[in-house]
Symmetry: D2
Subunit: 373 residues, 4 copies
C-alpha cells in the first residue's frame, strides 16, 4: 500500500475528486482471458450508487462506468481481459459545488478538512475532494474485476448493526440483504432501522454502523508468514475505507474474552478429504494464512460528521468559529460501505491468490502420503 | 507490505525461525546521523524478553542483539546511523526442539500448523518455526530504531483487558505500567489479574487480552489520502502481529454506537497557535491523516492455542486424532504483545514521517494568512 | 518497477492500447502546490506527436491531454497540484484497425506479437495494442509533471546517431535541436540524415538510432547505495522505452577502454564552494549517487520491425509463413524517442529527489567544518 | 528496486559494509521445497572470492556463508527451502582499516566518497564501506538461490573485453572460462590479457572491461508490458553493480546501425513445435517479454578509481588537494564482476518467473488450435 495504489500483484490505483471531472481507477496485473464487461462492473456500482433511498445521500450520480483499456473480444466474440492495465472511468455528473462554498475555509469537526490542509497546504473543499466517499466507487469497480480472478469466489456483505441496534444472527438470511435499503440480513431488524434512521435523518444527525463481509471458496494457503499476512492486508484494506475506525477477523475483539479451549477451532476430516473446522472463531485465517473456511471480516463505520447541528471549530486562518453542514449526505454512511467492503475483500483475496500461485505454483497435494516428510 | 518486508521508506525485513540459528532484521531507509547503539535496542528487547515472570513462557532467551551494519562512530565518537541498512542479529540459545517432536505431524487447533503445511508443503514444526511469537523480537528491535526517527516521538503501550477483566481508565497511570508483570496502567486491576491468570496457568489453559498503544508528539499531516492512510497502515501493522484478531483507532467499534455530534471532536485554537481537539474520538487520525492529537490504537489478542487440554484435530496424513501441547508457552500471549505493538506503531509513524517529508518537504505554514488560497 | 507502474514516491501508472478508446496515466505522489496546467503537458506532447514530418508515422493524432484530477486553482487563481493523484487522459482519434487485420494471426519478426501471445494467450493486434510506441505519450505527459518537482531542473535530449551517421559533438548546439525534424543538435548532420532517411523510407525499410539525454541542475546526493541507485533506475527507465536495446551513463561502454587515470574525473573547489569536476566521464553519477554535474544518459533504439520487405515467420497456429507490414510507421522510431527519454529521466530524478528529501531531509551542510567527524 | 531491496516476488535485501562485522542478505519469497545447502551457495561465492590470482585484490576473505534461516531437512533428510526468508551471513575477516585512514577526509576521484558524504553527511571510509565491491558477495549468494527457482535455468558469464582487447567470438568456448583467471572464453585472448594486465598492475593503474551474461532455458513469456519489462529489470540490475556504466541486450548499441531487415530475427517452426529464431539480435527479449531464445546481456565496467598515481581532488572541508590510493585493489574490477552479473541475471529471471506464474498461471497452450481467437 502506497499513496493511492493498493495490492502487490493485483494492483489498484484510484484517482479523482468528488466534484472534479471524473473518478476512476487502473487495475493492473489482472490475469488474461477472464470474461469482463462493463455490465459486470455496473452491477456492483449500482449497489453502491447514491440516491437510491432516503437513507443515503440524495446526490444523483448515474455512476456509469467505461472500460478504457485492457479488454477485447476473444475468438468467440466474448469480451475478455488481455492481461494489460484495465482503466475504468466514471464521470461526475451531479456536483453542486456551491453547497460547499461557505465551508471552504472552515474545518468541519470529524472531517479531513483540517488534516488535508495542514498536510498539503491546499485542499479541494468541493464535496470533500479526494476525501469524499465518492472515491469508493472506484474501489467497487476494481472489486468487480477482482471477483473474476479466484474461481468460484463468493464475497458477500451485510450491515449487522446501526447505532445500538444489532441484528439477530439467528435470523441471518442472505436473500433478505437485497430486499431492504440497508443490506440487512435480518428482516425484523431492517424494519426497526427504518424508523430509527428516519428519526436521525430528520434531526439532521447521523449514526455509526458495523459491516460484516464473508468470502466463501477461498482456497487454503493464501497469505504470507509475517507482514504480508492475509488478515494484515484485509485489516489495512478495510481501515482504508472512509470513516472506518475498527476491523475484526472472526471472533475479533470477542477473542480477548475467550479461553484457549473456546477459541481454537477443532478439526475433523471432511468427506472430500479436506479438514473441516468445527467452528470458525479464526474467521478463516490462522497464522496469516487462509484455512479454507469462510473468511469473515467486520468493520465499524463512524457516523458521518456532516451534520446540521452547529459545532465548535476553527477556520484555516486560526480563528475560533462554528460550523454546520448543509450539503447532501448519508445519515448512516455505513450502509453504502457494504459493497465497498465486499470490493476490498475481493481485491485482497485476488492479490493473495496470485501471490500464492507465484510463489508456490500448483497447489500442494494434501493430505500428504505417510512417507512424506 | 509484502512477504516479510514492511514499510515504504522506513523498511523492515525480518527473518528467522523459533528454533533456528538466529532471528533478526534489516532496517533500510533509516535517516543518517541518528544516535543508535545496541543498548538502545536492548532496552526495548528486554521488555519483551521471555521468562521474566510466571505469566509468560519459561523459555530462557537472553535476546542479546548485535548491530552488524549501518552504524559507525561520528566525529565525537558517538555511534550513529550512516543511512545504509542496519542489520540486527539475535541468536537463539534455549531451543528445546524435542518438546515439539510429537506434534510435528499433528495440527494444533488454532495454530498455523495446518495452514503452513497446506501452503508450503513443508513446515518447521520446532517451536512453530516462522509462525512463532519469537519473530516479534525482530520487530521490537526495528521499533527501537524507528523511535529515533521522529523528533520527540513518545510511543507507549499498556494492557487494558485480560479475559473479561478490563482496567478502570480513571485509574490510568503510565508509571504503574513498569511496576507489574502485565504492563497494566491500573494497580488495582493488576492485582486482580495476578490471581485470575494464576488460575488459568495452573489449569494449563490460556486467555485473550486487549492492548492499547498511544503515540504522542506525532506531527499533524502524516498519512496519505486513500490506500496509504496512516490508520490503514497501523491496522495492517497491528493485525500482522501474531494472534491479533482485531484493531481499533480511537473510539473504534464504539464509534458505531455514537451520533455524529458525539463522535466529531470539536476544535478550538490552542495557546501555541495550533488547534486543540476538545476530545479524541478520532484517535489522532482524520481522513487517514494525523491531526496532531495522540494517535491511539487498540488490538485484541486471542488466547494462545497451546493448551494442555486435549483437542480434536487431524494429522498431516488426513487422520482424525487429538492433541495437547506440552511445550513452554504464555498463558496470556497478550502481555508480551505490548512492546511489540509499541514497535509496530513506531515503525508506521517513522515511515509516514519520511514519506510526508519526501512528498511535501518542510511543514506547511499554518494557520494560513487570510490572503492564502 | 512493477507491471505498469514506475517510481517509488513519484509514481506513474500508464494504461491504454494503440487502437483502444484512450491512453493515459495516473501520476501519484506529486508534491502539492506546484503550478500545472494542461498546456504545460501539451507542450511536451506536441514534441512527440506523430505526423509532424515525413520521417515519422503519418497517423494523425492530436494527442490532446485532459487533466481529470489532482489540480485546482489556488487563492490567486493559478492552477496548482493538490498532492492527490493526477489523472491524465488522451483519447485515440485516428485508429485504422483494418490495417492490422491480416497480421492478427501472423507474428512480425522483431515485434512483440509472438511474446504477447505466448505470455497471455491473447493479444490486441490492432496497432500492436499495449506494445505500441503510442503508450509513450503517457510517459511524456507524466514527465511534464516530473519536470515541475525539482527546482530549476533542465532536462533536454537530442538524437546523436542515425544508422552509421553520428553527429559531430564539436558542433553541438542545443538551439539547433528545435530547428530540424530529428532533434539533432548539429545542423550539418541533420542535413545528411534528411537524405539518408528519405532513402530508407522510400525503400520501406527502417534504421536504428542513438539518443542522448542531459539533465542539468540535479542536486548532488540523489540516489541510493545499492539497488535503488540513480543510474540503476535510469537504466531501467530507459530500457523500458519501446525498442531500446542499450543504455549508457557518462562514458558508458567507452569506459571499458579507459585507464583509471583517464576515467576518474578530477575535482577542484569551484567559486560557489561546491566542487567542480574537471571532466564528466561519470555522467554525473558516482556510486549510484548524483555528483551535481550534469546527468548524461544515452540509449540505443533498434530499427522498427515494421518494414515492407517480406520476412520469414510463423503464425499463431504453428505454420511457417511470410509477413510484411503495411500500416503507418516510423522509418526511424528513435526520433520520437527523444521527448520520451527526456520524460523518463525527469521522472527518475523527481522520484529520487523526493526519496532523498524523505530519508535525509534538508540538504547536508557541505563543506563540513573541520571539527565535523 | 528500492533502497537496498531488489525484486518483486523473489526479493533480495542486502546489508553490510566492507570493513564492518559482516555482510549478508535476506532472500524473501523463494518457493518452498527447493534443494538448498550452504555448499550450493559457497560454490558461486568461491568464484567471486578475492585473492585468487594476482589480477584481483589481495584481500584474503574466506567468504564462508552461513544459512541462518529458511531451510530445513525434508522427510528424506535433504536440506530444502521452507518458503520463509532465507538469511545468509558472511563474516568479514581480513579488514585492514588502517589502509584507509589517510583518505577518510579526502575524496578519491571516480569514487563514491564525495557523493556518500554529500548525501548522508557521514560515510564509512573504511574500504569504501557500503560502496565497496565487497557488497557484491551478498548478490552472488542470493543468485545461487535464484538459480534453483527456474527449472533447468543455466546462467553463465564471461569477460569479453579488457581495455581495447576484445575476444574473438569465433573461438568462444564455455569450458575455457574456468581455465584462466579472467573468466575468458577464448584461450588466446586470455594469454594476451595476462601480459597486458600485468603491465597495468605494475604501474598501479587500472583498466575497464566488458562482461557478457547468457541465460539459457528461459521460458518464453517472462516480463511485463511496460515498466516491469524483463529487459528493463535486467538493465537496472546490471547497472546497480558497482562500476557498471553501460548495459546492452542482444545487439545492443550495434542495433542503432542496423536496418529493420538486419535486426528483426526471422522465425521458423522447430522440431518440438516451438518457433526457432534464425538469429538472436533481440537477445531473447521482444517487447519486454522473453522469446525462449537465450537471454543475452552485456555490461561495461569502468576501471577502478583506486590507483597509485596522485590525482587532483578536494577534501571534505572544501580544500583543494591530491590523493593516491594505497589499499589492496583490483587492477580490473570487471573480472570479478562476472559471477556478480550471473547472479543478478538469475535473480531477475527468477523474479519474473514467479511473477508470470502468479499472473498467468499454467503456461499458455501454444501453438493455438486454428479455432482459437
Amino acid at each position: 500500500m502506497s499513496h493511492n495504489t493498493f495490492g502487490h500483484l493485483f494492483r489498484v490505483t484510484t484517482f479523482g475528486e468528488s466534484h472534479g471531472v471524473a473518478i476512476g481507477c487502473v487495475v493492473d496485473g489482472c490475469p488474461p482471458r477472464l470474461s469482463l464487461t462493463a455490465a459486470d462492473i455496473q452491477r456492483d456500482l449500482d449497489k453502491r450508487r447514491p440516491g437510491q433511498s432516503k437513507f443515503v445521500t440524495q446526490r444523483r450520480e448515474p455512476d456509469t462506468v467505461r472500460i478504457l483499456s485492457g479488454t477485447m473480444p476473444d475468438a468467440s466474440g466474448k469480451e475478455v481481459t488481455t492481461g494489460t492495465p484495465i482503466a475504468l472511468l466514471i464521470e461526475n455528473v451531479d456536483a453542486r459545488s456551491k453547497d460547499y462554498e461557505e465551508i471552504a475555509a472552515t474545518y468541519r469537526p470529524g472531517h479531513a478538512d483540517y488534516t488535508y490542509d495542514v498536510k498539503y497546504g491546499i485542499r479541494d473543499a468541493r464535496g470533500s475532494g479526494r476525501a469524499s466517499a465518492r472515491e469508493t466507487a472506484s474501489r467497487v469497480a476494481a472489486g468487480a474485476v477482482a471477483r473474476k480472478v479466484v474461481p468460484n469466489l463468493l464475497v458477500r456483505g451485510a450491515l449487522v448493526q446501526i447505532g445500538d441496534i444489532a441484528i439477530d444472527r439467528k435470523r441471518w438470511d442472505w436473500d433478505e440483504v437485497g430486499r431492504n435499503p440497508f443490506f440487512c440480513p435480518d428482516a425484523e431488524t431492517a424494519k426497526k432501522w427504518e424508523d430509527y434512521l428516519d428519526g436521525i435523518r430528520k434531526k439532521g444527525s447521523s449514526v455509526g454502523a458495523v459491516v460484516e463481509i464473508v468470502a466463501e471458496n477461498v482456497p487454503a494457503g493464501l497469505g504470507a508468514p509475517v507482514y504480508g499476512k492475509l488478515d494484515a492486508d484485509i485489516a489495512g484494506a478495510m481501515m482504508s475505507i472512509n470513516a472506518v475506525k475498527g476491523v475484526e477477523i472472526g471472533a475479533g475483539f470477542e477473542a480477548a474474552r475467550l479461553s484457549g479451549e473456546e477459541n481454537a477451532d477443532e478439526m475433523r476430516m471432511g468427506k472430500d478429504k479436506r479438514p473441516v473446522f468445527l467452528s470458525n472463531k479464526a474467521g478463516g485465517i490462522l497464522g496469516g494464512i487462509s484455512t479454507g473456511a469462510p473468511v469473515v471480516a467486520r468493520f465499524a463505520v463512524k457516523p458521518t460528521s456532516s451534520i446540521l447541528n452547529p459545532r465548535k471549530t476553527v477556520d484555516r486562518y486560526g480563528n475560533d468559529t462554528e460550523v454546520s453542514t448543509k450539503g447532501r449526505h448519508d445519515p448512516c454512511v455505513g450502509i453504502r460501505a457494504v459493497p465497498v467492503g465486499e470490493a476490498m475483500l475481493a481485491c485482497v483475496i485476488a492479490d493473495h491468490y496470485l501471490r500464492q500461485r507465484g510463489q508456490v505454483g500448483d497447489a500442494v497435494t494434501w493430505p500428504f502420503p505417510p512417507s512424506n516428510q
